[in-house]
Symmetry: C2
Subunit: 322 residues, 2 copies
């Protein structure tokens, strides 16, 4: 699989590090907002993940005012696109994905998109992607992604699902490694919007984190797990799925074990809960990017089988990437 | 979905009870070894699950010396076949499935097959099913099935999987409800074979159970989870997957919580374990037949998308059946 990474923040760099350990993947293109690097014969992932948070791809590649446009020009050589851009505002990632197919790209996409409204915009593009013979899997990270797919599996034992509860714990040593992710999460806090979070300076984020000893706690997040589970019929109403979590930005130790709990009623009248729990030692990067690449392989498989359009991560099994 | 149930023991009857609660499914054919019942307009599931363990389908349908042959004759009207026959000996289910496609059936199959050797025989039929434009999903119960699919999901977070451990607990009040299943399980005990277990009289099974206060404990079972996980690349060698369990045949309370534990190493060097745990109140029937019907819907979907052949339950997501 020849793949491109769009976005080279914390997640993009971690993706490069993961790809270095995957024989099946050749990284052929990377961009951030200022620079891009395209090498048909393959980019050494080290030069990507060794960039510091302060460095831009311009230092190892070329500068451009339209780095996405540059990747699109080279996209004949790309099978799959992994999108690790921060999705601020809500229509940012949908608009970029759309540009690819409107400019003749035919291929596969995987996007660990989180926010409900962004996903809703994405699904309105289904016809366009079908016509363009492209396959886009959305919500392919940890949640939605790994945990919502686990909810689909868990639902199999029940005749009626009552509730899906996802509560995650993330611990990172330094918030500056994941500036985009943290801003996206802050946008879920009461009193914040994606626009407001995007506009915050690093200093303002530091001050916010200082007030809470580096911890952020979230309840009733607008995570797209709900619409993805509704789409496949696991739940009927969106309020049956709740997502929350605790992020510690000053310690890599998780403040709580990430757990998906699905409660339902069985055909023989029992009420019970299945659980899917992620090991505390696994990082956000491992749990987001592993699935995102597994789903990218599935998206390529679907395209090879003439199955096109926009799908959620609850609709297909991610594949193992060697 | 117009479906047929082959085999009307404890699992077949429970499947009928589950189907009664599924709007999307019409039951059009059922058989056991002595009798069959075919009704194009739909069979009332009640008349199936109300049969006692001592009654045969001949009491509500017709007798035949070749009940499978009778279902095959009517198979133009069938979209999907759920196989709930006891798989003794190992080539029994593969031979029945093969008969269907050799006699012109084009459709979908789901089979909660468990034993490794039986599954290996099944996979040798792949070409035949591809040519016959039929799609067969195998190992679609709880384990393999629900738990091995959960292992595929869990593996996504890891660069290298070290071990998959599946340990199940089953509690049933009366072993006679699941005579076929219990015999299949006994075949896994040291000193037993599928042939020997099949030849045991009910009295001999009772005596065996009396010795252990109704409990049977299994380690290193020949469960096909191993080959299904190897097929998709989650594990490299079969010994990386172990399956065991404890069955209590005298209480519906589970003696142990059914748990899949996958241990691996992440791209960033951490060793950790993800877990998938089934609620103690959920019965074997709920955890086997829910997935089996979800995979049958997926098999029908795959056939509709021209994807034919024999596949394992680790390769696709089961679908939600309303």
């Amino acid at each position: 699989m020849r793949i491109a990474i769009l976005g080279c923040g914390g997640l993009g760099k971690a993706a490069a590090k993961m790809i270095e350990q995957k024989e099946e993947i050749t990284l052929v293109a990377v961009c951030d907002k200022d620079g891009f690097l395209i090498q048909e014969e393959g980019i050494d992932p080290k030069i990507i993940y060794n960039l510091s948070p302060q460095q831009s791809i311009t230092e190892i590649g070329k500068a451009s005012e339209d780095t996405i446009g540059e990747i699109i020009k080279a996209s004949k050589n790309i099978d799959g696109i992994l999108i690790t851009l921060p999705n601020l505002p809500n229509d940012f990632i949908p608009s970029i994905a759309t540009r690819f197919v409107e400019n003749g790209f035919e291929g596969a996409f995987s996007d660990p998109l989180k926010r409900t409204q962004a996903m809703q915009i994405m699904f309105t593009k289904d016809e366009l992607f079908k016509k363009s013979k492209s396959t886009y899997l959305s919500g392919t990270g940890a949640t939605p992604g790994l945990l919502s797919a686990a909810a689909v599996l868990a639902s199999q034992s029940f005749i009626k699902v009552e509730k899906v509860d996802i509560f995650w714990g993330v611990g990172i040593e330094n918030w500056e490694e994941y500036k985009g992710t943290i801003r996206e999460d802050i946008a879920h806090l009461e009193g914040y919007t994606p626009e407001k979070a995007k506009a915050m300076s690093d200093q303002e984020i530091k001050e916010l984190l200082d007030k809470t000893d580096g911890k952020l706690e979230f309840h009733n997040m607008q995570h797209a797990d709900d619409i993805l589970l509704q789409k496949v019929g696991v739940i009927e109403t969106l309020d049956q799925c709740t997502v929350g979590g605790i992020m510690d930005t000053r310690s890599s130790k998780k403040p709580v074990t990430t757990t998906m709990t699905l409660t339902g009623k069985t055909f023989d009248g029992k009420t019970s809960s299945h659980k899917f729990m992620l090991g505390d030692e696994t990082t956000m990067a491992a749990n987001v990017l592993g699935p995102a690449l597994g789903y990218l392989k599935r998206a390529i498989w679907l395209k090879q089988h003439n199955i096109y359009g926009i799908f959620g991560s609850t609709e297909f099994m991610p594949m193992v990437v060697k």
